[in-house]
């Protein structure tokens, strides 16, 4: 049995990006980057993603093969869920699964002991959350509000979910990590409780 973590970086208002804002909204710091590097260099997990994230990240990895972050991702075993991409995939150590992502992930959790982690992939993450196969939901809240320019709202289309806070940490005095165990609710709470 392995566990699955979904993680995102978000603005305080829940967006994954903002038009005109730099990567990490320009708010990254040494503590956070050391944390990211440590996580990326851990090759003992499997990275899960959808086709959109695959296209983006494999493109970056091809353009910047010497970047330590992308080199680490290239070395990490990866699984892409897509019915449009075609095997073989060019990015090393990447398996393509052309089928139901939820069933495949359930199967991987049964068979594999390595932890599973998503990279970006909002719609894949939404499907996995809805199906109740996510063990850990982690966000790092960046100190910006992007009411005017926010894009890629992370939580659009989500169900209602009760969260159990298991970790909380501040990086560089400004980035707030919040790690939760999610429980998807069938309907509004209170009904039938």
């Amino acid at each position: 049995m392995s566990s699955l973590m979904v993680d995102f970086i978000i603005s305080l208002d829940g967006y994954g990006a903002g038009e005109g804002w730099p990567g990490y909204w320009g708010m990254e710091g040494p503590e956070y980057l050391a944390f990211v590097e440590k996580e990326e260099s851990d090759h003992e997990h499997i990275a899960l993603m959808g086709a959109t994230t695959y296209r983006l990240m494999s493109g970056f990895a091809a353009e910047m093969p010497d970047d330590p972050g992308f080199a680490a991702m290239t070395a990490t075993p990866k699984v892409v869920f897509s019915s449009t991409l075609e095997a073989p995939l060019s990015w090393a150590n990447t398996e393509l699964i052309d089928g139901d992502a939820v069933e495949a992930v359930k199967d991987m959790k049964e068979r594999d002991s390595r932890p599973l982690r998503t990279i970006g992939s909002r719609s894949l993450c939404r499907s996995l959350l809805e199906a109740g196969v996510v063990d850990c939901f982690r966000v790092v809240v960046f100190p910006v509000i992007t009411g005017a320019t926010g894009q890629e709202r992370i939580f659009d289309g989500y169900p209602d979910i009760a969260l159990d806070l298991v970790d909380s940490h501040t990086f560089d005095g400004r980035l707030q990590l919040l790690e939760y165990v999610p429980t998807v609710l069938e309907g509004p709470p209170g009904v039938g409780d």
Partner: protein, 191 residues
């Protein structure tokens, strides 16, 4: 020396201020630390600044409440007894509120003047559109968000920053209450 203005707001992790569901007040996640902390916050001398919609919602909840209702929690009672400025073009005095004044006019002008004249800090709870306008005008010194441990993708209402501009935030304080609720206090600067 101008008075400090704090925009105090409750939120789900996905940024909604309320919901169509049966979550209840505080999304059912209140605990002793949160309630004590809220009371301590509102214990200090200060003036409330409320928008008309939030004021009406409070008044309505109080009117229909029972002794056990969350709207009768001690910090809410304390908040209700603080002097309040309600910015509204439609509400008429007298208000069913211990010490509230209705002020007509543009919220930005009203609050800019209050900040000059008030001897005590100013605090607003909820009042989203009022606070978006004040944030855009650079009048909000602190944004205090209490993040309750829920996602309300299905039933969420009133995104707390949907009508806000873009801001850089400086994290001033962060604390976990009852082991599951996160309070984040930021100083906003227009981006």
């Amino acid at each position: 020396m101008t008075a400090t203005y704090t925009f105090d707001v409750f939120s789900s992790l996905d940024g909604y201020g309320s919901n169509t569901g049966d979550w209840g007040g505080y999304w059912g996640k209140q605990g002793p630390e949160l309630l004590d902390h809220r009371l301590a916050l509102y214990d200090a001398e200060q003036r409330m600044v409320l928008g008309a919609n939030t004021f009406r919602a409070f008044a309505q909840m109080l009117a229909s409440s029972t002794e056990e209702s969350e709207v009768r929690d001690p910090w809410v009672t304390r908040m209700r007894n603080l002097p309040a400025t309600v910015v509204s073009t439609t509400l008429e005095e007298p208000l069913d509120w211990p010490d509230a004044t209705v002020v007509r006019g543009d919220a930005v002008d009203v609050v800019a003047r209050l900040k000059e004249e008030s001897d005590v800090p100013l605090r607003s709870h909820g009042s989203l559109s009022l606070n978006w306008a004040l944030m855009a005008a650079g009048l909000v010194d602190r944004v205090q968000v209490t993040v309750f441990p829920v996602i309300t993708g299905h039933t969420g209402l009133e995104p707390i920053f949907r009508g806000a501009a873009d801001f850089d935030l400086e994290l001033v304080e962060s604390r976990t209450l009852d082991g599951h609720t996160q309070e984040l206090i930021y100083r906003p600067t227009l981006h």
